[in-house]
Chain length 357, copies 2
Amino acid sequence: MELSERKKKILRAVVERYIQTAEPIGSKALQELTDLNVSSATIRNELADLTELGYLEQPHTSAGRIPSPKGYRLYVNELMEEQRLSLEETKQINDALHLKMRELDKVIDQAGRMVSQLTNYPAFALAGNPRRPTIKRFDLILVDSASFIAVVMTDGNLVKNKLFRLPTDLSEPQLQLLTTLLNTAFVGKTLDQLTPELMRVAEHAAGGSYGLISLVVSFAMEVLDSLENSSVYTAGTSHILDHPEYQDVGKAQKLMTYLSEDRALAQSLALPALNDDGAKILIGPENVAEELKDSSVVLASYDIGDGMKGVIGVVGPTRMDYAKVAAKLSYVADGLSKLFGTPELPPAEPAKDKKEE
Amino acid sequence: MELSERKKKILRAVVERYIQTAEPIGSKALQELTDLNVSSATIRNELADLTELGYLEQPHTSAGRIPSPKGYRLYVNELMEEQRLSLEETKQINDALHLKMRELDKVIDQAGRMVSQLTNYPAFALAGNPRRPTIKRFDLILVDSASFIAVVMTDGNLVKNKLFRLPTDLSEPQLQLLTTLLNTAFVGKTLDQLTPELMRVAEHAAGGSYGLISLVVSFAMEVLDSLENSSVYTAGTSHILDHPEYQDVGKAQKLMTYLSEDRALAQSLALPALNDDGAKILIGPENVAEELKDSSVVLASYDIGDGMKGVIGVVGPTRMDYAKVAAKLSYVADGLSKLFGTPELPPAEPAKDKKEE
DNA sequence: TTTAGCACTCAATCTATCTGAGTGCTAAAC
DNA sequence: GTTTAGCACTCAGATAGATTGAGTGCTAAA
C-alpha cells in the first residue's frame, strides 16, 4: 500500500530531523518543521498510522517518534534527495586521490582513510579478486655475487619483489638459467597448482642450484596467497565514539572489535557490494553480521582493472546521513576507478595515433 | 631519602593490587594482603607517610589509596619483579613471528597486531631511519613493448617496484640506456639531492626518451619519501575500552584519536625509544604528548639491520601491568631483531667456507 | 477529516536521606 | 619511640520519593 503524500512528507521530516539531532521528535516540532498547515493533533494521527505500519518507533509511550529500519529503508529508497557535493568537497577528494603513492596496498589503505576523514565515520577498504590470481612472470636481478632480487608479476599486473641474500656465490648466467626455468615451469599457475612435485621437478632440472627455485617459488606463493586473502584496511574507528548511540561503551566496543576483525568484515561486506555499481546501503538488521544489526553500512565498489574489484565503505549508526555519505562514497569510488583505469602518466609527448588502440 | 623496607612492601602491595582491581585500596585490605604483622592503624600511618611523600594518592578523603605516577615509577624502577614468560607464551610469540611474509611493511604491521593481541592493550609499531636513505640502484625490466617495471633499491636494501605502462613503444636497448643513465646520475642521492636540474640534465642526456627518466625518478622519490616519513601501524585500539579508566567516552576518544594520528605518535614515541635497548616505560605525565599525560606507554626497540631501527609499543592506563607487558615486549623485540638479523633462508646445502665471509 | 482539549504516561531530574568504607587523630599500651 | 585500639568524621554512592514536562491517545465538537 502506497503511503499518502502527507505521510511521506512527515516520515521524511522525522528521518531528517532525527539524523541531525539523534532525539525523538514529536508532533508539535513536526508541525513547525513541515509546511503542512495542519494541527499537531492531525500529525499525531498520522504518526500513529506510521507507527502502526512499522515505519516509526517509540522509545517509550511518552516520547516522540524515531525512524525504524523500515522507515530508513523507505527514506533511502524513495524520499532521499540525491546530495550533490560542493565544489570544495569534490576538490578535496580529487586532491587526496592524486596525492599518494600508487602502490596497490597503499592506495586502498589511503582510500579508506580518506573516506573516513571525509565522512566522519569509521571506514574500511578492501580489494577483492573474483578470479584466482596466477603468476605471469618472473625476473631475477643480480645485485652482487651473493644476493639477487626476485620480481614476481601476477596476471593482474601486480608486481612484488623480494631481496634474497645467499651464503654462496651466484653468476649472471646461472641466474638467467633459473629465470628461464621459473618462467617455463610456473607461469600461469594458481596457488594450488604450485605443488611440491612441480617444484621438485624444476629443482632437479636446475641441477645444483641449492634450492633456489624453491625459495623463489615460495615467495611467489606468498604473493598469491596474500592476493587471495586480501586484507582489509580500517580507518577512523574512533569516530564511532562521536555518536550518542555508542555512548554505551559496551556497544561501542562490540562494534570496534568487529571492525578490527579483518576477515569477518571482508566476508560479510565484500559480497553484497561486489556486484552493484553505485552506493549500496545496508540498514540495521539488513546486515548479515550480528554485530552490525543495529548499525548501518554504506558501500561502494570500484574497478581496479583487470577484473579486480575493490570496495570502500563506511559504518555508522542507523541514524546516518545516508544522502551525504552515499554521495561522497560514490564519488570516491568513481575517482578510484578512473585512477586505476588510466595508464601511468603518459610522457609529455602525446601519442598521436591514439585511436588505433 | 630511602624508604623503609616496610613502606616499600606496602607500596608494592598497593600497586600490584591496584593494577589488578582498579580500585583504591585501604589499610585493612593491606593488612590482610601483606605478611606484615601489624595493625591496620600502623598501616594507616605508613600510608599517610607514603601519601605525604607523593607515592600515593587519595581520590577523596574517605577512599583508599592509589599509586601516583611517582609511585608507579618507584615500583617500576625498584620493586617490580622481572616477569618470566611461560613456555606457552614464548611459543605463541615465536610461532607468530615466523608465520608471516617478510616484507618490511608487513612485518612491522604484523608485529604491532601481535603485540596488541598478546598484551590486550592497543599497540603500535614503526620503523625509523637514523640516516637519510639514498637510492642504491635502479633496474628496468621490459614487460612488453609498451610497459616496463622499474625496480628501485635503497641503501638499506629495501626494494620497491612499480609497473609503468606507456603510450609508446620501447625497445630493450633503449631501456638499457635508461638504466645506465639512471644508475650513473641518481645513485647515492638523498631525496633533497634529486633536484629538478639534475633531472633535466639526465633527461637531456637520454635524448628523445619522452620524459621516462622523470617518471622513474619521481617514483624513486616517492620511495625515499615514504622511507623518511615511515608510517606507524596501530592495532587493537579497541582494547582501550576494556579498561575502566576509559569508561568516560570522552577520555577514550581523545586517546584513540591521538593514536590514529600517525605523525604525532611517531614523533613523540620514536625519540625516547630509539636509543635504549630493552623496554622503556613512560608513566603518565612523563609522556611529552598532552594526550598521553594520564596514560602509560611501554616501548621496545629492535634492529632492522643496516642501521635502521624499529619500535614497538603499547599504550594503556597508568594502571598497567608493567611487568608482564615489558617482558612480552622485550621478547618480541628480540625476536624481531633476530628475524631481521638472519639472512634469507640459506638453501639446503650449507655453505662450507662460511668463515671466509 | 480535522481540530481543540484534556487526562495520562513515563523518562529524566532533582532532593533528601542513608550507608559504609576508610580516614585522621588521640591517648593508652608496648 | 613505635604500635595499637578507639572513635568521630568525611564523603562517594546507593536508594527512594517527589517534581517536571514533553509528548501521547482519545474524545467530542467543528
